[in-house]
Symmetry: D3
Subunit: 341 residues, 6 copies
Amino acid sequence: MSKRIVCFGEIMLRLSPPGCLRFEQAHSLDVVYGGGEANVAVSLSNYGLDACFVTRVPANPIGQGAINEMRRYGVDTRFMVRGGERLGVYFLEKGASQRPSKVVYDRKFSAISQVQKGDFDWQAIFELAHWFHFTGITPALGDTVAEVVIEACEAARAAGLTISCDLNYRKNLWSSENAGKVMAALMPYVDLCIANEEDAEKVFAIKATGSDIRSGVLSHEGYKSVARQLTDRFPFKAVAITLRGSISASDNNWSAMLYKNGNYHFSRTYPIHIVDRVGGGDSFAGGLIYAFLNGLGDEEALEFAVAASCLKHSIEGDKNHVTVDEVKALMAGDASGRVVR
Amino acid sequence: MSKRIVCFGEIMLRLSPPGCLRFEQAHSLDVVYGGGEANVAVSLSNYGLDACFVTRVPANPIGQGAINEMRRYGVDTRFMVRGGERLGVYFLEKGASQRPSKVVYDRKFSAISQVQKGDFDWQAIFELAHWFHFTGITPALGDTVAEVVIEACEAARAAGLTISCDLNYRKNLWSSENAGKVMAALMPYVDLCIANEEDAEKVFAIKATGSDIRSGVLSHEGYKSVARQLTDRFPFKAVAITLRGSISASDNNWSAMLYKNGNYHFSRTYPIHIVDRVGGGDSFAGGLIYAFLNGLGDEEALEFAVAASCLKHSIEGDKNHVTVDEVKALMAGDASGRVVR
Amino acid sequence: MSKRIVCFGEIMLRLSPPGCLRFEQAHSLDVVYGGGEANVAVSLSNYGLDACFVTRVPANPIGQGAINEMRRYGVDTRFMVRGGERLGVYFLEKGASQRPSKVVYDRKFSAISQVQKGDFDWQAIFELAHWFHFTGITPALGDTVAEVVIEACEAARAAGLTISCDLNYRKNLWSSENAGKVMAALMPYVDLCIANEEDAEKVFAIKATGSDIRSGVLSHEGYKSVARQLTDRFPFKAVAITLRGSISASDNNWSAMLYKNGNYHFSRTYPIHIVDRVGGGDSFAGGLIYAFLNGLGDEEALEFAVAASCLKHSIEGDKNHVTVDEVKALMAGDASGRVVR
Amino acid sequence: MSKRIVCFGEIMLRLSPPGCLRFEQAHSLDVVYGGGEANVAVSLSNYGLDACFVTRVPANPIGQGAINEMRRYGVDTRFMVRGGERLGVYFLEKGASQRPSKVVYDRKFSAISQVQKGDFDWQAIFELAHWFHFTGITPALGDTVAEVVIEACEAARAAGLTISCDLNYRKNLWSSENAGKVMAALMPYVDLCIANEEDAEKVFAIKATGSDIRSGVLSHEGYKSVARQLTDRFPFKAVAITLRGSISASDNNWSAMLYKNGNYHFSRTYPIHIVDRVGGGDSFAGGLIYAFLNGLGDEEALEFAVAASCLKHSIEGDKNHVTVDEVKALMAGDASGRVVR
Amino acid sequence: MSKRIVCFGEIMLRLSPPGCLRFEQAHSLDVVYGGGEANVAVSLSNYGLDACFVTRVPANPIGQGAINEMRRYGVDTRFMVRGGERLGVYFLEKGASQRPSKVVYDRKFSAISQVQKGDFDWQAIFELAHWFHFTGITPALGDTVAEVVIEACEAARAAGLTISCDLNYRKNLWSSENAGKVMAALMPYVDLCIANEEDAEKVFAIKATGSDIRSGVLSHEGYKSVARQLTDRFPFKAVAITLRGSISASDNNWSAMLYKNGNYHFSRTYPIHIVDRVGGGDSFAGGLIYAFLNGLGDEEALEFAVAASCLKHSIEGDKNHVTVDEVKALMAGDASGRVVR
Amino acid sequence: MSKRIVCFGEIMLRLSPPGCLRFEQAHSLDVVYGGGEANVAVSLSNYGLDACFVTRVPANPIGQGAINEMRRYGVDTRFMVRGGERLGVYFLEKGASQRPSKVVYDRKFSAISQVQKGDFDWQAIFELAHWFHFTGITPALGDTVAEVVIEACEAARAAGLTISCDLNYRKNLWSSENAGKVMAALMPYVDLCIANEEDAEKVFAIKATGSDIRSGVLSHEGYKSVARQLTDRFPFKAVAITLRGSISASDNNWSAMLYKNGNYHFSRTYPIHIVDRVGGGDSFAGGLIYAFLNGLGDEEALEFAVAASCLKHSIEGDKNHVTVDEVKALMAGDASGRVVR
């Protein structure tokens, strides 16, 4: 029987103009539902695992849409609670060439942002589960939500689960100061810490020396230093950092680093033509969790996660619709894009 | 030079599934911006008048979209204020046959709902204007908004404008009790009161005797009684009531009554195949204001407003995209729908 | 081998907003190519006949589009000449309920409107042909085009073809006076004259007494009188008149009359929910020509043409995409619209 | 805990031109997955029951699409088997007015049509279940499939389930002779027999006297006679017959009859503007099963099923996306289609 | 109060196949309205200036569409005159890789091409204005239009406006000989002359030595020589030349040169993935006019114009929908396309 | 009069998700009809030749769609036979970046796969023809189809036609062993053998030494060796091999080799941004056949074929919609993608 993972966080209605139209040119908006932890759950379900997503959505057709989308991809939605006033919305305008993608959030007052301790039956949720995943977005939704995350972490630890957290700093949701304080309280529960090139600095003021994000120059030494500082400060078993070399809104170089058991692993780098980069980091987390749960070695696990998230960039929407076989084909070196008949 | 009308209220982002798909079947949503008073402003601009719409929208691309849509149809947007957190959203699922249309509101915390006295320079806004129009939706958005409406009414009266109000009761926004109290305070400013078959009862507990809305049986005597009771209670110069005979979501009979100077006028009744009935009442208000501003007689004014709003039901979106000539052609009796080459 | 029919006239690029959007709401336009005689040619090809369409289109991709569309439906396009500056365009806004459909023509200076005598090799075109069809639109395109029509009629008569003409008066193209003069010169060549309820009056000042088009009241006696007057004046072997009872832009009653050999035949009347009424008359002409060429009796020929054109009203675009079997099924009385599996 | 129902049959990829385009006009095809029993399962899941759908789909993305669609609507897909060569396809062209809808089947050699006895673990499938539903389409798919249906019926009876069957005769799949023989062997297992106005005659040569389907004239007495003959011949506990009065492809009158415990119940008749009539009968079956499982009285159960299937006709696709509350609102008499805000 | 700019020229209906379909594959056409000077006006309005666009459009819905589009983006349309027969049309097929984009013009006999001296009240139009802009396309529309341009230039000079002209040679509209003669008469009014790499040669036979356009090799020295020759011949205060290095229809290198006060400035070069390159030159002109009107230094003005037009290439349609902040962010060096949240 | 070419093979309904959506994300599928030999026929018709396509399609609207599409592009469809059960279908998911395109075939039991000797009147088909073309896909459809291909080859040889064959190995249709045996029997009829970099090995076990397809490294020497081995074994007059350097699903390098009269010609290499690579090889074959039929020299013929197929990669669908002039413009060196006005 496949292993069970629980993800907790917000799922939003994503509305984006077709193609690469700007907001002011759009007369219809494409609909997808997504969010950091929801995206991870879908990745894991696509890999054949028993992924469960926990959140709160309003008892209206928009909330039902979020449930349906998760069900569609095989995610266990039994613990999605109905209530609250609205589903968070985010508007996404896809960039191209030198024009960056743009996100307009309209997520305040969402159903999940109003939850409180006791709203979820964590004991039931974690029954038979092996892993718990959340991101830094969830505690940022509000003070009571942060309390619920702690509650969940305690229950997960009590149930013997591995816990992963993607730092995922969002400046629209909270200040670095606030984030640092709240996240520091959560990190002791975390086994696997995932971050991108900015998170560690924004949340914990840990700097990646020798790396200028906007210039696209990424220093391996800098990332090593960040990983080391993170493990010095918190009892992580592993730290993974995604390395995005942004050439333009259309082209990125994508790779990652894993620091585990004192060893630094740097993955292969993929030059990517971007179709949709939202959810790239989530697909990395999903790949890594799958790999660790299935006993892949550290190096292989990292390559699996990077290949999986490389493929995500070629897929519309927030979620990574790929199978284990497809990821493995890319890992095996076939990046030529030849037609599979 | 064309006459100037000022409309004050909320404009929302309307999102609706294409065709008559249900919410859960939609993978894209059609975008329109609309709201009771905004729709009236567009009607009036389409008729060649100098229509000005006043509201508050967030300083983001979604708010800009609302401004652009109003500009597109020639409405003066100089007094649309930028600020606040979000633009109100409403989701519309169009019904068909026995399946009713469905609206899911997500309008809480909108930019306009947070305005306060002093936020608008009514003296400047009403300069050179002849008419001020608002609906019962606006004061329902919040206590401070209701205060702003009173402020506007006082300024409009001081500037010598005619004032019209469409009662437009919305049960999701406030209770009948609350509505009755607030609206009663506003009615003394109003010259022209517009209502549909339910409003008078819901807001002022004035009942249309002899009329069962759901059965589609409409009694003329009942409506006369409502109009009389309204004018007994408030100093209206005229009362107009739209009469919707709902046969199904696809077919309605549409007519209206005007009570003015002690006379009751009942319009012709149009059997309508519905394309989009949202904004039907607003288009009636727009027609009536145009007609009165252009000196049409009472009977003719009523027929203009009913013909105008009959045409609205054949048009997608909230707004009535018709010209004076098109309305007059229908008034003149040509409802045959022959091709105009 | 199937019989050969030649149709001569204009084919235009038709651009229409999706669904029943108004022009000002459209951000894309649906593309179809059509025109009175082109539509007849497609009908006939769909019935398995060897239909040939003759016109002139510009040597650019827009002209090529017109050729491709005709080829797609099996029409012989070998005699479509390339040249001239532009393809005529017409913009079509579909009406609904009380809102009429609207056509904006942009057909001036089109390639076909510039043709002159000698531009077409009528002898080659009419080789092996049995029938020649044109409409009153073609000579209206310009004086030299009218001369070409006469040239074609002479060649057709010389080759022993049956000639049909649909009067099809277009007030945007010429005045009644001019139309009357030019058409009168063409009528002596015509064997079968087709008209709608307005044409005879507009072109030849022959009035259908007892019939008010806009009121939808159609008098059989009036139509008989029109047919009789037409045959009194011109040597037609038969006159067919379509009878459109316009209830609204969405609903029409549709039938027709045939006057031949001194007998009046009135067809069954179909109550139609309209999908697209453009080309309704053309599909009637196509049905009638097919029926006469295949030896159907007068009554049956009329019913075939009316059933064929009834079906056209349920089909998007200018052209009638139905088979002989489908027409016959409707003629046989099955108008119930049951699913054909 | 909600009751469990098992449905067994084929699910196909349905491809239909947008709007009411004809096949030859379509440049894209809308995608839905559906089939008689799959549609019933979705209805039941929408009503909050634990619906399980059993079938076989190929192990490719098209088969996965079918699984995903069922999951999306909450149907238990654990017993959908992967294997075989292809998913059945059907092409649907929607009719309008006098033009009938048209179905082109391409379902031969489908994965489900190749199953054999032993391919499904019926004991596991029926665990905790209360009801088993199939239609006459399934045994028509092939001799070995018919054997599997018998196998399932035996297991269902052994497990004490109620069994329902919708006769659903399909002339493209088998002859009346063959159908009669195979279905006669299945009927002894069936508690609730559902049929439309043609099935009884086509399968069992039982005629509805006094009713001409194409004329739209439906005789109550004729249907009573059919129900009586069916119960005379087979040990049904109840017989339900849907009554479709086809006025055109756009308008139908819809009602039904229930014969149970010696009583005949005729439902209210709904005049329907059709959006999509495919799956109308399935939605009736779904409504009836729900009603019986939830203990509604016979009359109320019939009205629930008819109201549910009335609403289906206003919904795109094969499946009935309505809730119990929506059905009950219509049953309660509100067919006016007023906007639900 | 923001500065006022007047642009005079043609606005056309642009029709283009979706995505990169070829004309013959398109069944719908995307609608945009645009033209050299209209595009500049929209750029300037987007930057917050008071842009006014002057032209003549037909009094039909297609002409109204052009007005609405300009209004939508805040352009002052009060001086757009209604009249004439048709709006010019151009068909645009977008290229990709080695396949070039293709434009089919259908602009003859357009409303603006028929204007004559006296049709516009230039004195009223230029009231309170600071700048007048036109392109070489406008005088190419016809002899009388050229006269109107001279009339406008004289009025603009009299009113003390700065005048800019984009040479914009169109070989379909006139010969080099004719262009040279007419443009030479206009140049004495011009303060700022804008050109691309071909214009100077085509219009004034001034050659950019050392530059082979098709090879993509661009010589700085050649451009300097062109600018010098232009200023030698005409009394320009500044000359700006855009430098397009066409690698393929999908990839271009984009930069520009400014020659002013005897100094040559060459901008940064942007490697661009092209979304839509139509209007690229216009967006450069718009950027430059904004920059000069807002007092930016020459170097900064050039970089602003190049960054603005770089962004245009990533935007669908003719018009540059960017804000000053977005241009400045790119100028500041952030071309990495990171998501803006 | 233009030369006549006959192509024989399968035409399928191609269904692909819009843009680069994955199968599971698609709610509509774009429709194209195509197949190896059909694509060649369309290329040749676009070049002005008299191309005839021979196949068998079912007598239903899907089969008619295939006929219509071929007619649309001017292909002679008189010898397309109607019969059989179904049209083959293939589902195409377009890849991007590192994600490969994916084809799901559903072509079994297609009408063409059931043909037998005697089903086609080859003598009539080849009348006045100059060339016969088929691919390795056709004999792979079934044993009896292979016999029909032999029958066709014999008739073609008897009629003095040149015969070309594109090896086009499809592993889903047959094994290498079977392919080798059947194709070996057909090769003696073939004058021009076309292959891609894999075919020779898969069909005839002839290896291109020194070339690793997936690495994108292509060795000229290896291809020479393959061509030599092929001509050693079979009496080909010429061998052409396409060389695809797959960098990713979005970028390919494209060139080809021609071996004729003992000389090896290697073409220019085009770096391509891929829009749709399906049919790339077919467009090469079409270009080569055109070139040889029109007497181009070997080098020029090869460059024509490579330029033609380079352009195909920028065009949606299976078929190459380009003219001779467009190919020649690219051959002449203009790959810069400048707008053609």
